[in-house]
């Protein structure tokens, strides 16, 4: 941090090469998935919902790169359309959970006192149930449908964001720059949301990325268990479930490729979340 200007700029050294690589791979995977999902709106090799474009259980070939399922529908087309469902459900749910959880968490953390106690006890009771179990029960109770699945998933996610935002704000609200912000005439909500929350964007983003992986897994799990979406919806979890029989008789591709798709998506999100945790802090940025 000297003001002396070296005659030549020193070569840029990456202090955290692993983070950068993880971030690149994570973002690369994510962009690929989003691209596939978008592409599926305009083009798929075959119609994803039409059975019988090939024979049942065609092995991967030039005509059907990922094979066909039991009814002869093209696996590649179904996987591409499935990306819409899995990404759409997971990301929408995460966005809702992030927004609501952060707002309540910041308020509870900054305000403290009775509000904080009430909110946190509620969260603890809620979190006593495992997330997937809770999601299953609620989907069973309120009925299937994409909107219900999204709402249930976001509801399951809220407590995590709430806790994280609350902890972040609580740790920072007595720091001197918060004091300084109050001293220059900022109202409390402005100090909390405009001054303190941006300091927590790094941890929140990192967690969001990892949580999105969890949400994608739960989406697939619900599909696998036959909850949430109709049986013919080409959702990946759904597809794995439908391909189970084939695994026994050697038609591995029907379950394998949807599984691989889920692995790639969750893996990419995890990598990205990990790297984001390192890189979003401006003090660590180059």
């Amino acid at each position: 941090m000297t003001d002396a200007k070296p005659a030549k700029r020193a070569p840029v050294r990456r202090r955290r090469p692993r983070s950068y690589w993880a971030l690149r791979i994570g973002i690369g995977l994510l962009v690929f998935y989003v691209a596939v999902a978008l592409l599926s709106f305009v083009w798929t090799p075959y119609d994803a919902l039409t059975p019988g474009v090939g024979d049942g259980y065609d092995a991967p070939s030039w005509a059907f790169p990922l094979g066909t399922d039991r009814l002869g529908a093209d696996m590649l087309s179904r996987l591409m359309v499935g990306a819409r469902y899995d990404l759409g459900i997971a990301f929408t749910a995460v966005a809702i959970a992030l927004t609501i959880g952060t707002i309540i968490g910041v308020l509870a953390g900054y305000h403290g006192g009775a509000l904080d106690t009430a909110v946190m006890r509620g969260v603890e009771i809620f979190q006593a149930f495992p997330g997937l179990l809770f999601a299953m029960l609620v989907v069973q109770a309120v009925g299937a449908g994409i909107v219900n699945v999204i709402l249930v998933l976001s509801f399951v996610g809220i407590p995590d964001y709430l806790r994280l935002a609350r902890a972040e704000i609580r740790a920072k609200k007595d720091w001197q720059y918060a004091e300084a912000a109050r001293l220059t005439g900022n109202l409390p909500w402005r100090v909390a949301f405009r001054h303190l929350l941006p300091n927590s964007v790094g941890p929140l983003l990192a967690f969001t990325s990892i949580n999105a992986a969890f949400a994608a897994l739960v989406t697939a799990s619900l599909g696998f268990l036959g909850l949430g979406l109709g049986p013919n919806v080409p959702e990946w979890g759904n597809m794995i479930a439908r391909g189970q029989d084939g695994v026994m008789t050697g038609e591995w591709w029907v379950s394998f490729f949807p599984g691989l798709a889920i692995l790639g998506l969750t893996g990419g999100l995890y990598l990205m979340g990990d790297a984001l945790a390192d890189l979003t802090d401006p003090r660590r940025r180059r």
Partner: protein, 267 residues
């Protein structure tokens, strides 16, 4: 009405322990900050000088409990104001510079943006105009290349530069009538200390600011302040003009403080 901008009368209080026991720390503190003057509050660590200053802005630690006293600012008692009214006083009427300027700046925003934010908050106006004011303020406190510096983050500032930026924020951007400086030069290099003090004196003179300088550095006080309040162990032991305090200290503690600082011959 007198010529005092702020009058602290008989301010007493104690820290409340976890079990409810009281540890008295302030005993009937009374002093006045005269309008347009620079008043020093001196005393060793733990004498309560910072605690009183924080109380002026209503940001004393929560464990502190007041038992008596008034703080008259322009005739109204700051201690009786509700949170909303205090909000209007903070920044606009009274602002403060902390010891550690880099901790007082938000690490995730550029320095220019933080100054501009405060300008907009206090004076309204467009974002662009606020940024112009921020850069002007940085220039005014002798930060070189203010246009470039405004786009930097606090961790890219040295301690002295950050303190200049804080002073710019507290005095030029907020435009208060009372500026409280809590040990503004502690922890800085000696040469930078005198630069910063020069800047403070120059700003308060040209802007007609009433300034309250909290410090334990008597050398700084002798050069800059007109009035001195000496505090020891939660009491005000002596008040008077800087000249009187430095040449004819009446209290024993003040005499010891002076001889320890080796500013004057023990006469």
């Amino acid at each position: 009405m007198s010529d005092a901008l702020l009058e602290i009368e008989d301010y007493s209080g104690a820290f409340v322990g976890e079990t409810g026991e009281l540890t008295p720390v302030l005993h009937g503190v009374s002093y006045r900050l005269k309008t347009g003057m620079m008043t020093a509050v001196v005393g060793e660590s733990g004498s309560g000088k910072s605690l009183v200053a924080l109380s002026i802005l209503g940001i004393q630690p929560p464990a502190f409990e007041r038992s008596s006293g008034r703080m008259l600012f322009r005739g109204s008692d700051l201690l009786e104001l509700d949170e909303r009214a205090m909000q209007g006083i903070r920044g606009a009427e009274i602002s403060m510079v902390f010891q550690d300027a880099r901790a007082a700046l938000n690490p995730v925003f550029t320095v220019g943006r933080q100054l501009a934010d405060v300008w907009q908050l206090q004076h309204g106006g467009s974002r662009r105009a606020a940024m112009t004011q921020a850069i002007e303020a940085l220039r005014r406190v002798s930060i070189p290349e203010p246009e470039r510096r405004a786009l930097q983050y606090p961790h890219q500032f040295s301690g002295g530069m950050a303190q200049r930026a804080m002073i710019a924020m507290a005095s030029l951007i907020c435009e208060p009538s009372l500026l409280i400086l809590d040990e503004p030069t502690t922890g800085l290099d000696v040469t930078i200390q005198s630069d910063i003090m020069e800047l403070i004196v120059e700003l308060s003179r040209t802007r007609g600011l009433t300034t309250c300088l909290i410090t334990h550095d008597l050398g700084v006080v002798a050069e800059t302040c007109q009035e001195v309040v000496v505090m020891n162990a939660g009491r005000v032991v002596e008040t008077g003009s800087a000249e009187a305090i430095f040449t004819r200290p009446s209290d024993g503690y003040t005499q010891r403080l002076l001889s320890a600082s080796q500013l004057v011959e023990a006469a």
